[in-house]
Symmetry: C2
Subunit: 362 residues, 2 copies
Amino acid sequence: MFKSSRYCLNSLGAHLIIKKPTIDDVAALSSVGRTTVSRVLNGGQNVRDIVRERVLAAVKTLDYKVNLQARSLASGSNKVIALIYSSNLESEPNSYYHSGLELGALRACTDSGYQLQTHAINQDSADYYDKILRIADKSRFDGLIISPPFCDDIKLLNALIEKDCPFVCISAGNIAAKSAHSIGIDEEMAGYEIAKYLLRLGHKSFGYILGLQGHISAQQRYSGYVRAIEEVGIEVKDQILERGNFTFKSGIEIAQNILTRPNPPSALIFANDDMAAGALFSAHKLGIKVPQDLSVVGFDDTPVSEIVWPPLTTVHQPLKAIGQQSVQILLKKMSGINGVEIPLQTIVPFRLQIRESTSGVQ
Amino acid sequence: MFKSSRYCLNSLGAHLIIKKPTIDDVAALSSVGRTTVSRVLNGGQNVRDIVRERVLAAVKTLDYKVNLQARSLASGSNKVIALIYSSNLESEPNSYYHSGLELGALRACTDSGYQLQTHAINQDSADYYDKILRIADKSRFDGLIISPPFCDDIKLLNALIEKDCPFVCISAGNIAAKSAHSIGIDEEMAGYEIAKYLLRLGHKSFGYILGLQGHISAQQRYSGYVRAIEEVGIEVKDQILERGNFTFKSGIEIAQNILTRPNPPSALIFANDDMAAGALFSAHKLGIKVPQDLSVVGFDDTPVSEIVWPPLTTVHQPLKAIGQQSVQILLKKMSGINGVEIPLQTIVPFRLQIRESTSGVQ
DNA sequence: TTGTATGCGTTATCAT
DNA sequence: ATGATAACGCATACAA
């Protein structure tokens, strides 16, 4: 850390030292033992009020601040939780998605006196597994929050478990959710609901655009969609199915491709908002009117869905709340001697957010 | 930190210990002194190759990882730099702006073996000054990167200087830039250029929408605009001037207000892309065609400007490069005994990014 | 209620 | 080239 010039008093009296004051300085100034100062600063039990006030006064006049490094070294706890999210450093994929999560987690951390540490990992890099484990080893934190697609890497999860590293998954897929604590919406149901909505509007031909492989939760949305259309007797194999990478750009390209085919579908369902925004873009380029000629829906309800024209119909996912609750679960998990009481899965409600990118088929 | 079960060898032979291996374990296993292990792990000077290999082998078999807490406690350096940015926790204002900065800074940190620590501070909160100073005191980092509007708080900057906390400002305003290291584009010139461009297209009536107060660099863009239009004899006082808060929503409201007045201007200039995107939204709602009936320009060239329809003409600011260079400057500043050689201001080039939201006036 | 002594894991100093 | 030993700043048994 940077050296801070500060005037300290040592036991011999006023003295100039170019250092931050330590707990011993406070102890000396308030004429108590080091332990008492520590007591006052932490729990605060078993200290006479007079003494406490003296210590607090010394803290104030010296402008003393605990050295967190030293504290964690001595106590074995750091008061920091880490959040791992995917990013490829070249683009800002899903920037708003992560912002929501991070903001929520940050708030919960602040409330509990924890720091939040974020790590962006390139999901395309072959060694992301090693990178994450290295972070778990080197960067000292008390608990870990893992978002897709890393939370679906069972091998990674098991390695973390073996290390006794407490973690919680955000939107873990059905496999990971069986063995790890996770929080998220009912993805399958969300996919089902949005398809149902489109069906109610009279749509019969669909294009479904998946996200990056490995994002199991996104895959489950697709399962829900399949269930819904099969329910009304529509053949899944007759519908268009493509895979994007969650970026706006991939949405543009895929939509362009689909919409220039002979008999394009009347509704396009995207695994996230960014790709759906890309479809809107392509529709504009091609002179296709949304929602008159084409209905488009996204997923997540990130700010993007309100920024585009027309505003996007999507599935609202309470990202901030998810981020917030994820640290609460983590904290509980870390403190709990008997981790039995915490449910493995926490399901938060989603909501169909109907805007102007969808309408009945002509 | 979480406790990691691990098998360690102590000097008496194979032994089961529920702890991470320490430097002493490595020393014991490789039959050298603790200091030698430290040497190998760090600089690596003055160690025989045979010994070095033995140590490295021990490190590998024990899966030893340095305890960063202990290292920084002993060395006084943490190898982490912090980035402070504004956020109000309720919305995701300028999310892409910060992502760009963060991604660039992260890359530079990674390259230099540093960690990046980010702190979101609510710029609306009255005590953000105290909050930042508290972060500087408690959270141990070696250097600080400050983005607007905090980098324009001279009082804050001075407090940091007094603490001997090395920092560098992103897009500092002209006042702060005089006394602190900063990096950014020539804001005044950028404002001048975009106004010039609009002028060349034949526009004669403008609406300029400022950002949040306190963002001096954004204010300088306005000065550039003023210079440009005065140059051709257009009266500034006849032009519309409003103030937004950088959010999409404020852009919607302000544009709605301006565009429903009797004689709306033919061109709208916004202090950032998000607000300009809001104007596009309002124009759609009002049935005003962009760019045929109205030209709209933004600032920054964040991904938002490509997502909206029509794509936004804006001023490209190399945010990632700025983030990257900011840590390089900081690192240089921290290492340099004689900080004389680093220029106080680093100006990076901007670029007019012409897209489809602007055209000649009818 | 308060203080003493020891340990946390590493780097730095100074011998050898 | 290598190794004792002393910090680093704090928490925590344990003693008083």
